[in-house]
């Protein structure tokens, strides 16, 4: 009898990719759950339209005899539905799902997608967070707070059901071709506002590596919390130069104002910890995950970003144009030297 795996949040890109990849395994029976029908081809995944905020999810788990639950129905930005809906999906949804899991006798394993956001961001941060570190400044709003609450509920379940293997993966910001995240949209603005005098260290994760990591911890048992990210970092100014984007310097004090303007213009909803992460930088140490699974990300941060560059429209300061200007200036200097 095949093991039954329930994956939540399959309507979205990463969930769909993961569920599809998981379903190629003959020994697994993969059930995808989401409130909206999937936009992507799900392959052999059987899709169940259900809301995890609703006790109905318990029935799904019971009738199918679900053994493994992969919880990926986590919303990182408010989008059109607004912050209250986002919080409900993240927090209430997780609570309902975990409550249903706790009741199910067939339930043996839980994999939760969490985020780097749980570490908050502040100028007092160490350069790389390990799994045992707690945020220096406790996030009070937005996705970071949701992620922290989700993790605490997950820990609660682990205490109440010690027979269940619980794995939490803290994923770095996804980056690559076709990634439709708030950060990717932000970096693709024609002129990118940035906080003056700070050069944030960015760390990305390519969706391919994210899926590989999720597959590894779903197929094998690796209980615990793991950071998953590319090993290297890139600075915000490097990223913007790779993308050829001119920047608009904003004093630190005005950053919330600019974030408000971006929200008005529907160009993303930035919470204070996300602004802080783009100001002071944030990165994770991934040693524990690499040692546990032996899985090294295939894409570096830079390669993930370069993939985005290759599919996005070249910016105003794209390398070709910079080359032209530089060659011109070099000619000028050469000329004045010869005089």
């Amino acid at each position: 009898m095949p093991r039954v795996v329930l994956v939540t949040g399959v309507a979205r890109d990463l969930g769909a990719r993961f569920a599809r990849a998981l379903a190629t395994d003959e020994s697994l029976d993969v059930i995808g759950v989401d409130v909206s029908p999937p936009r992507h081809d799900l392959g052999k995944v059987s899709f169940v339209r259900a809301d995890i905020r609703n006790p109905v999810i318990g029935k799904v788990i019971k009738t199918h005899g679900v053994e493994v639950v992969v919880h990926m129905a986590i919303v990182a930005s408010p989008g059109s539905a607004g912050r209250s809906s986002m919080k409900e999906i993240n927090v209430i949804g997780t609570m309902q799902l975990l409550a249903a899991c706790q009741k199910a006798d067939s339930f043996r394993k839980l994999v939760v997608q969490s985020s780097v956001s749980v570490y908050g961001a502040s100028p007092r941060d160490p350069v790389k967070f390990t799994e045992d570190m707690s945020p220096r400044v406790q996030p009070r709003t937005g996705f970071a707070k949701d992620a922290l609450e989700i993790e605490s509920y997950v820990r609660g379940l682990g205490r109440r059901r010690p027979d269940v293997a619980v794995t939490t993966l803290r994923l770095a910001n996804l980056m690559g071709a076709g990634v439709d995240s708030q950060l990717a949209r932000f970096l693709a603005l024609p002129v990118v506002p940035r906080v003056m005098g700070f050069d944030a260290r960015l760390q990305f994760l390519h969706p391919t590596d994210a899926v590989a990591a999720l597959l590894a911890v779903t197929r094998e048992d690796h209980p615990g919390t793991f950071n998953v990210a590319a090993p290297d970092i890139i600075s915000l100014s490097q990223a913007l130069r790779l993308l050829g984007r001119p920047t608009l310097g904003v004093p630190l004090q005005f950053a919330p104002l600019i974030a408000g303007m971006l929200r008005q213009a529907r160009l993303g909803d930035w919470s204070s910890d996300q602004i802080a992460a783009l100001t002071y930088g944030r990165a994770m140490d991934t040693t524990r995950f690499v040692n546990a699974t032996g899985l090294k990300p295939r894409f570096t941060t830079r390669e993930a970003l370069e993939e985005l560059v290759s599919v996005s429209t070249p910016g105003l300061l794209n390398p070709d144009r910079v080359d032209q200007v530089l060659t011109g200036v070099a000619g000028l200097i050469e000329g004045s030297r010869r005089d």
């Binding site: 100028p123 007092r124 941060d125 160490p126 350069v127 790389k128 390990t130 570190m133 906080v195 003056m196 005098g197 700070f198 050069d199 260290r201 290297d232 970092i233 890139i234 600075s235 100014s237 490097q238 990223a239 913007l240 130069r241 790779l242 004093p251 630190l252 002071y280 930088g281 990165a283 300061l317 390398p319 910079v322 080359d323 530089l326 060659t327 200036v329 070099a330 000028l332 200097i333 050469e334 004045s336 030297r337 005089d339």
Partner: protein, 455 residues
């Protein structure tokens, strides 16, 4: 351990320092050599009443310092020899050269200025009706006049040339200043191209070796070699491979000493020194960016251990802002050494501690006073008031050209300590004290050896 304090009568237990008041007559009388100097100090005070807080402070230093046992050896050389020099730069710079200049060129502009000064006088109600003000104004006018005279003599031909071809002029100026970029034009273009397209490497700390070696260090080099004339001793104590923790005294109002250490160590043995900095550095715009690029990271246990584990040369300034922002009167007196976190990091990583004693950094911006209210308003740990800052604005930021000696002491090894020593606070305190004592003693020794603060 700590040196015994001799508490003098009538100075609020502070030996006349830091209490904001000059020492009492009793305190001056107690201290040797005080009597001979005080009359002159008073005379100074009477004549230039306006701006000579600095002189007072420096003078006040004299009677009290010899009372300190640890200083008695070094003071005759360091203290007494230096103080007059500071006097000279502070006081005599103003009035001395001017009378000569003032006469020839300054005859015309004196009158209007003087009238202005006369008008302004009633406004300064509490100021004594002094001849001084008029004298100063006339001197200033004289200086201005001579400056205008000099301007007339400027080579107009060259200026026109400059206007015609600014690019070339900039290159010439750069060459004249001795900015050695070690690059030909093609390389500069290639460098700019790589920078502009983001094709350069940084490590996980945000350290940008290319920027550091090609931009930052070439700027620091002339400052270290020609301005401060740094004399490096004991460079052989720094390992050429593997990690080590350099522990240094911290002084000079601005953390120039760290940058100079970085520069000389790179020039001597070709290794980058990675520094640990206070969180204020990383809160402050531009300072954050610059610090990360040049290899500084936050002084926290995690980062220190990460650096030491990756075979880096790490430098730490355990005095922190207490050392940087201490008054000039307390120069070369080590402040408290934090909580010894750096020692436990080194012990845990089993890397040697190298005591670094820097002499000369105290004199670059002599901190004669601080404005605590202003500092609090700005969120800074202190607001420096030096003889030149903030009076001269940006020019006040030019460091005084003191003569520096940097001594790298013999390594204090930590690998023979028993396992778990890092968790033993007593061991950590003992090693911390050992490092602190070593630095303090070699500071005194170096102070005795140097001829003067600026030569």
């Amino acid at each position: 351990m700590t040196e015994a304090e001799i508490i003098q009568l009538g100075s609020r237990g502070k030996a006349g320092r830091g209490s904001g008041k000059p020492p009492s007559a009793a305190a001056r009388g107690l201290a040797a050599g005080g009597k001979t100097r005080t009359p002159r100090a008073r005379a100074d005070r009477r004549t230039d009443a306006d701006e000579d807080v600095s002189v007072e402070r420096v003078e006040n230093l004299q009677p009290t310092t010899p009372a300190e046992p640890a200083f008695t050896a070094s003071e005759p050389v360091a203290g007494v020899a230096e103080a007059p020099i500071v006097d000279a730069t502070v006081v005599e710079d103003g009035p001395d050269p001017d009378p000569a200049d003032a006469e020839p060129a300054g005859a015309d502009p004196i009158d209007p200025d003087d009238a202005g000064a006369a008008d302004a006088k009633p406004g300064f109600g509490q100021l004594p009706p002094s001849v001084n003000l008029a004298a100063i104004v006339s001197e200033l006018a004289g200086v201005l006049g001579s400056a205008v005279g000099h301007l007339r003599n400027l080579p107009t031909e060259q200026l026109k040339e400059l206007g015609r071809d600014p690019l070339r002029a900039v290159l010439q100026v750069a060459e004249a200043l001795g900015v050695d970029w070690q690059e030909s034009l093609e390389e500069i273009v290639e460098f700019t191209r790589a920078r502009m397209s983001g094709r350069y490497a940084i490590d996980e700390f945000g350290f940008d070796p290319e920027f550091t070696t090609k931009v930052f260090l070439p700027i620091m080099r002339p400052l270290a070699q020609n301005w401060f004339r740094v004399e490096v001793r004991g460079i052989e104590n720094i390992p050429t491979t593997g990690s080590a923790l350099l522990v240094s005294n911290h002084a000079g109002t601005l953390p120039l000493d760290g940058m100079i250490v970085q520069s000389v160590v790179y020039d001597e043995i070709g290794r980058h020194v990675r520094m640990l900095g206070a969180d204020l550095i990383f809160k402050t715009p531009y300072s954050h960016d610059f610090a990360r690029r040049t290899g500084t990271t936050l002084a926290c246990q995690e980062d220190a251990e990460r650096l030491l584990a990756s075979d880096q040369l790490v430098a730490v300034f355990p005095e922190g802002f207490k050392g940087l922002g201490k008054p000039y009167a307390d120069r070369y007196k080590l402040q408290r050494f934090g909580r010894g976190g750096f020692v436990s990091a080194a012990v845990r990583a089993q890397v040697p501690l190298i005591p670094v004693s820097i002499v000369g950094s105290e004199e670059i911006y002599p901190l004669i006073a601080s404005a605590p209210t202003l500092a609090r308003a700005m969120g800074a740990p202190y607001f420096p008031i030096t003889p030149l800052f903030p009076w001269l604005g940006v020019f006040g930021l030019i460091p005084l050209p003191s003569k520096w000696i940097i001594q790298f002491g013999e390594a204090i090894t930590t690998d023979e300590l028993p396992p778990g020593a890092a968790e033993d606070p007593m061991v950590v305190f003992n090693v911390t004290d050992q490092v602190r004592e070593t630095i303090q003693h070699s500071l005194y020794a170096l102070l005795m050896q140097r001829r003067s603060a600026f030569l």
